[in-house]
């Protein structure tokens, strides 16, 4: 591998790492913003729409990533439903671009953010919120002073899972983003390329790096889960 030291020619793995972190960070942020109201609604509503919407949110957990990627590719293309909108807004078509990757990742990682939040919200006893209301706290006040502190562990889990799962995606990225260095090539795709090119040394290093990273993230989650369990016990 050349160009290790020269910053103008960053190595392929560094470019891919940057794209990956950018993608995972942005996806997690968007999911926390979108997923919080969605999870609240799923946890509290008695609407008939709850079941179909809940199933839709969970779909990426069982659907082959290529299926989601295929439909997204069609939607994001210039003549697709989504592509026409972004085109009309002067944003161009998003297939094979970084924004397209973000849209795909948001959909693909959604259950990993929404599910922990939803069970966190569902576990809050209704009388606590009613008591807060009789103590003069309005709806928004209740969210920040009661709900948020009580579901903080769920938010941590949702953030870590959403981030880790986005780092770990492969199929959807390849379908929607293609493999453009510095723009849409993420670490998992780079690894695939390295194996294809029989660059096993690089592949070993990258695979081990991703393995350690994912394990570390989940380990932190386990520790945090135990700490909160002890604190509440």
């Amino acid at each position: 591998m050349t160009g290790w030291i020269d910053p103008a020619h960053a190595p392929a793995w560094a470019l891919a790492a940057w794209v990956t972190l950018k993608l995972a960070g942005l996806t997690t942020l968007i999911l926390l913003l979108l997923g919080t109201p969605l999870a609240w609604w799923l946890a509290r509503t008695r609407s008939l729409w709850r079941a179909p919407i809940g199933a839709l949110v969970s779909l990426p957990m069982v659907l082959p990533p290529t299926v989601l990627g295929f439909y997204l590719l069609i939607a994001l293309a210039p003549e697709g439903v989504f592509g026409r909108t972004t085109g009309a807004l002067g944003l161009g078509a998003w297939a094979f671009t970084f924004p397209g990757l973000v849209v795909a990742s948001v959909l693909y990682s959604m259950p990993f953010v929404v599910h922990p939040l939803q069970s966190g919200f569902a576990a809050i006893p209704a009388p606590l919120l009613e008591a807060a209301a009789t103590l003069r706290a309005g709806p928004l006040d209740r969210f920040f002073s009661v709900i948020l502190p009580l579901v903080r562990p769920s938010f941590l889990t949702a953030t870590l899972l959403g981030f880790a799962h986005t780092v770990g995606e492969f199929g959807v990225v390849l379908m929607v983003g293609g493999n453009i260095e510095g723009q849409t090539r993420v670490l998992s795709v780079l690894l695939y390329d390295q194996v294809e090119a029989m660059a096993y040394g690089d592949a070993h290093r990258l695979a081990a790096g991703l393995l350690v990273f994912s394990f570390g993230l989940l380990l932190v989650m386990q520790w945090l889960g135990r700490r909160t369990a002890v604190a509440h016990g």
Binding site: E130, A133, T134, R136
Partner: protein
């Protein structure tokens, strides 16, 4: 307006095949107890007053303050209410002091109110604790202080003792009485325990299957023999009393409307204290003449007003002792043997008088 001198509650709430429909006028001072079996709708009524039942229709007015009518529905956080829930509902992530401050801060109430209730409910040693480390009784005391620190216009108590065992109930009842005496706000207290009614109620509302069956001054309603209350296993009368003397063994001589009565009291009660006593029908027996050879201390002359047949071969005698009603529960056979008939003068032998301190 003279209209504003009371509380108006006109509420309707339908849920499944259950309908709550009440139309009440309540006094603006003292404790109103809503009494009824579980499922009668008393908790729903309380929740509707607090604004926690968005489907409840009607009118909630307290003095001149309208919380709900045909035109408006104030959400719970805009009603100046203080509510204590069955399970205390303390915020688990906040220390006791922060729980107390939660509503106090938002209500913008006076600092003195907070300090006052911390002291009166003896919460100072608990302020740094988390709710999970408190006993059930301590939790309810915190919940009471938390509600009162907001300077509510109306204090709502939703079976605040039902989650506690008998011992804890005994611990917290004196605090409830202190609140009743010192809070200076009307209280709406919902319960299915007759003891709480006897001790705490100034005004009593009986609720059954979502309908009001009686509403009036507590002692009047409690002692009315024509209500289902009189047919309960623990039926009895509640009388106001004043302590005349107390001896070293805890025997207390009381002056009541029915005459002088002796009672035992473990607690020290000072001479001259006003309190209530409860005399259960099953603790009263009847004699045709005054028995001089009995160990019973309490013998009260009374006129027999009526005999009501009860299931299980029993009859309940309604007596008038110096203008006050007493109930006596005896077997049908005894009534026959004594030849009881209304108008007769008898001696009521009272086996036990419960002091309600």
């Amino acid at each position: 307006m003279a209209e504003d001198g009371d509380i108006r509650l006109d509420l309707r709430l339908a849920r499944g095949d259950f309908t709550l429909a009440v139309d009440l006028r309540l006094p603006l001072d003292g404790t109103t107890v809503v009494f009824g079996p579980s499922g009668c709708g008393k908790s729903s009524l309380l929740r509707a007053v607090a604004g926690l039942e968005p489907c409840a229709r009607g009118c909630v007015r307290i003095g001149a303050e309208v919380w709900q009518d045909a035109a408006a529905f104030l959400p719970p956080h805009r009603r100046r209410v203080g509510m204590v829930f069955q399970q205390a509902a303390l915020l688990p992530h906040l220390r006791v002091l922060d729980n107390l401050c939660y509503g106090w801060k938002r209500a913008g109430a006076a600092r003195a109110r907070l300090d006052d209730w911390i002291e009166r409910l003896a919460l100072a040693p608990l302020l740094d604790r988390l709710p999970a480390t408190l006993s059930g009784g301590e939790r309810q005391r915190v919940a009471l202080a938390r509600a009162l620190a907001c300077e509510p216009r109306w204090l709502l108590l939703d079976e605040p003792l039902s989650a506690l065992d008998a011992e804890r109930r005994g611990e917290i009842l004196p605090y409830l009485e202190a609140v009743r005496r010192e809070a200076g706000v009307p209280i709406l207290h919902v319960t299915h325990a007759i003891e709480e009614v006897s001790r705490l109620a100034d005004h009593l509302v009986l609720l059954d299957a979502g309908r009001v069956t009686a509403s009036g001054a507590a002692l009047e309603v409690l002692n009315r023999a024509d209500l289902p209350l009189a047919l309960r296993e623990d039926a009895g009368v509640v009388l106001p009393a004043r302590v005349r003397t107390r001896d070293a063994h805890g025997l207390v001589l009381l002056d009541t409307a029915a005459g002088a009565l002796y009672a035992h009291s473990a607690a020290a009660v000072a001479q001259g204290t006003s309190l209530r006593v409860r005399i259960q029908a099953r603790d009263v027996s009847l004699a045709l003449s005054r028995s001089e050879d009995s160990s019973l201390l309490n013998l009260v002359p009374a006129r027999l007003e009526a005999l009501d047949a009860l299931p299980g071969g029993q009859v309940q005698a309604r007596l008038c002792a110096s203008g006050t009603t007493l109930l006596a529960r005896i077997s049908h056979l005894s009534a026959q043997r004594l030849g009881l008939r209304p108008g007769q003068t008898l001696w009521a032998q009272v086996k036990a008088v419960a002091l309600l301190l």
